[in-house]
Structures are given as structure tokens and as C-alpha cells.
Amino acid sequence: MSMIEFHNVEKYYGKFHALTNINLTIEKGETVVLIGPSGSGKSTLIRTINGLESINSGQLIVNGFDLASKKTNMNKIRREVGMVFQHFNLYNNKTVLENIMLGPRVVLGRKEDENKKIAMELLEQVGLSEKAESMPSMLSGGQKQRIAIARSLAMHPKCILFDEPTSALDPEMIDDVLNVMKQIAKDSSMTMVVVTHEMGFAREVGDRVVFMADGQILEDDAKEEFFDGQPSNERARQFLSKIIKH
């Protein structure tokens, strides 16, 4: 069974056709990088996967559950599908440690000592052990994003969605965050869907590259094909040449 399956998915915002005939299958353990110009529907697409955006028609199956079905419990799906946001969205009223421990405690009912142990290990993994008692407002953007990743990992999800995780960061912070993400991609069998403009990251850890424009998937290639060969789609070629020049 695949992790995520889109079948003929359509999505509108009023009259605006945000997603057009999306067909996409992502296997367990795969790392898929979503690229494309802004306004192409990448963020909308990734947000449909954990139900932050609903779809108008078609079928979307995540972890074996049909998201359009009323019987599907979205809270259950979100336990297994974490999300990392462009603007971090750390809980402003909680310490760093509490940000990581809150979900496992109230959602999974994880025991307190175990919860703390896991949280501290994750803090170490993202290199921020000393910030455990800090409030989010005292952290830099890069630190916030690494905590946000740790918060997602603490739920032990099967899949994590990254919605432009580095585009709100100062350039010198980007690598810290990307390194953490690369580690996750290499270490585990976790499925990762990443919306990003970081081609270096895509080339290094991506299994597949999906190119979107105007709400449609125009290119869906294995990484080698996309970067070393030539994308068959003209717009994808243009986009790629621009990005690489920069």
C-alpha cells in the first residue's frame, strides 16, 4: 500500500482553480520534492494531505484512509502525518520542551518520563538541548524551525510534510535546518514530502522531483532524470535553468 495517493483531485478557492486533475502516488519511505513557481499550488497540494485544505472532487488516500469520507477521523491521520510550516508556528505560550512534549502527552497519552526522554533526545538530534526551557520568542528562525521539526518527530509519524521550511530563514540559518532534514531522510524509513526551492537538497536526498505550475503537475521524474537528463516539459526546463543560474 502506498503512503499517499491522489486520484483526479480538484480543488477550487471560489472560482480560482487551485488544483487541476492531480494524480500522484507517493510510496512509503520515499522523499518527494515539490517544486514550481509561487502560486503554482504546491502549498495547497501539501496542505490537502493532512486535511488543512479540503478537496472538491477526486480521491485522496493517506495511510489507507479516504480523506473525503466522513468516517475518516482527521485527528487520527494527523497523528501519523506531521507538518512543518514556513513560519514555524511554535506554540508561543509553551517552552521549547513543552512544544515537543505536548502532542505526545495529550494525543498519544505517552508517559511523562518517557515523553521527556524522547523529547530530550530529539533536542539533542537537532542540536538545541540547551534551549529546552527557552520560550519560542527567544529563538532565532533557524532554531525555531529545528524545534518545529523535533515537535513533528516526537509524534513518531509515518510521514512528515515540509511546507517551504527554509524560505522564511536568513541564508546562514538554512543549512542547519537542511542538515536536520537530510539526517531524517537518510536515517529512517519515513516518508517526506518537501515543498522547497533548495535544489541542492532536492538533488542530495530527494528520490523524486515533482514540478507544478498553474495547479497542475507538469513533471514527475526520478531525481537523476530531472537534474541530469532534461525535463520533458518546457516550463520545467525554464524553471530549472533559472533556479540553477541563481
Binding site: 508561543n92 495529550v106 509524534m155
Partner: protein
């Protein structure tokens, strides 16, 4: 002023007591009712949203005296016999709850939507997200305007005087009309309101500072 205080101390004290009692009851219930309607207004449910909206718009746009008179005059005729104190306290509660609802709603909505999305993506239900993430942040934002509402509530409790609720204002009217010393009678009453509202005002400030320190 001193004369009035010494010759009417027991009436003034009982009036003060009634005012404080009414204010405390109204504060407690208007906070609960107001928060409830505020949550109605932000829930992703069109019907409850509409109910909340209508409640707030209707109640806050009717003068307090009219709301109170309704409970004093109409309810006893058709529903159940309630006296001036009860009618006044209910009126004040309902009236204030609409303003508290507006304040709390604004507080909830000023918490960035990303907080709710993050909590939901973390697997929490809507109510868990509200309880652990959104409401605590909204509460902090809402403390200063809520303080204003509480102080207004104490002052508005003088509506009891119009329905014979035996509050401070009622006692003041009584003293003024029996002693004919209108100026001093109302000065005494004014100072007694200050005795209630000033500490409240300072307490709200203290609370504001403390919560700000808690999460800078």
C-alpha cells in the same frame, strides 16, 4: 460629607455590600456566558456562529436600563416573580456578557491561525488545540480590555437603583432625598464606588504585568 457617612453608615455599608455582591455574581456569570458566545462565534459551524453573532449584536445594542427593566417588569408578569436585585443582576450579567463575548472573540481571533494549524497538525482535536494553545494565548491578550469590562460592570451595577435593588446608588438616592444634601450624598457614593473599582483596576494591572513576565 463626614456627616453623611457617620449618620448613614449602616445603609451605606449595606448598599456597598449589595453592589459588591451584584458585581461578583454578574462578573462570574457574564464571563462564562460571554466566553461561551465568543467561542460560538469562532467555531467552524455556521449555525452557532450566527447564534453568537445575533446574541452579541442584539444585547450590546440595547441600553442596559432596558434590559434590566425587561427582567424587572416583564419576566415577573409572565414567567417568575423576581425582585429588583435579581432582575438587576440578571440584566447586568446579560448586558456585560455581550461585551465580554466581543472582547474574548477579538482575543481568540488575534491569535495567529498558524497556532491552530500547528496544533491540529500535531494531532490535537479542535478542542484540545483551543484549550492548550489558542485560549491561553487569547486570555493573555484579553486581560487589559477585560479589566475595562469589569470596571464598567461595577459602575453599571448602579442600574440596580432604578429597580430598587438596594445598592449603593439606591442608598445614595435615598440619602440625598431625605437629607436634601444632594452634592455630598453623591460625593460619598462616588468615593465608595472608587473603593471598589480602584483595587480592581490595580489588580488587573498586576495581572497584566505578571502574565507578560510569564511569557515574554
Amino acid at each position: 460629607m463626614i456627616n453623611i457617612v457617620s449618620s448613614h453608615s449602616s445603609e451605606l455599608l449595606s448598599g456597598l455590600g449589595q453592589t459588591v455582591l451584584c458585581s461578583l455574581i454578574a462578573l462570574f456569570f457574564s464571563l462564562i456566558i460571554g466566553s461561551m458566545f465568543a467561542i460560538f462565534e469562532v467555531l467552524p459551524n455556521k449555525i452557532l456562529q450566527t447564534i453568537g453573532r445575533i446574541y452579541v449584536e442584539v444585547v450590546r445594542n440595547i441600553p442596559l436600563l432596558v434590559v434590566t427593566m425587561f427582567f424587572y417588569i416583564v419576566i415577573p408578569q409572565y414567567v417568575v416573580s423576581i425582585d429588583g436585585f435579581v432582575a438587576g443582576t440578571i440584566g447586568l450579567t446579560i448586558y456585560t456578557s455581550a461585551f465580554i463575548a466581543e472582547t474574548v472573540r477579538a482575543g481568540i481571533q488575534s491569535v495567529s491561525g498558524g497556532q491552530m494549524e500547528a496544533a491540529r497538525s500535531n494531532g490535537m482535536s479542535y478542542w484540545q488545540s483551543m484549550r492548550y494553545i489558542v485560549l491561553p494565548q487569547a486570555f493573555k491578550i484579553v486581560i487589559p480590555p477585560l479589566g475595562n469590562q469589569f470596571i464598567n460592570l461595577v459602575k453599571n451595577s448602579s442600574v440596580l437603583a432604578f429597580v430598587a435593588g438596594f445598592d449603593l446608588m439606591y442608598v445614595g438616592n435615598d440619602i440625598a432625598s431625605t437629607t436634601f444634601d444632594t452634592i455630598n450624598s453623591y460625593l460619598v457614593v462616588g468615593v465608595m464606588y472608587l473603593i471598589i473599582t480602584m483595587p480592581l483596576s490595580y489588580y488587573m494591572r498586576y495581572l497584566e504585568k505578571r502574565t507578560n513576565r510569564g511569557a515574554a
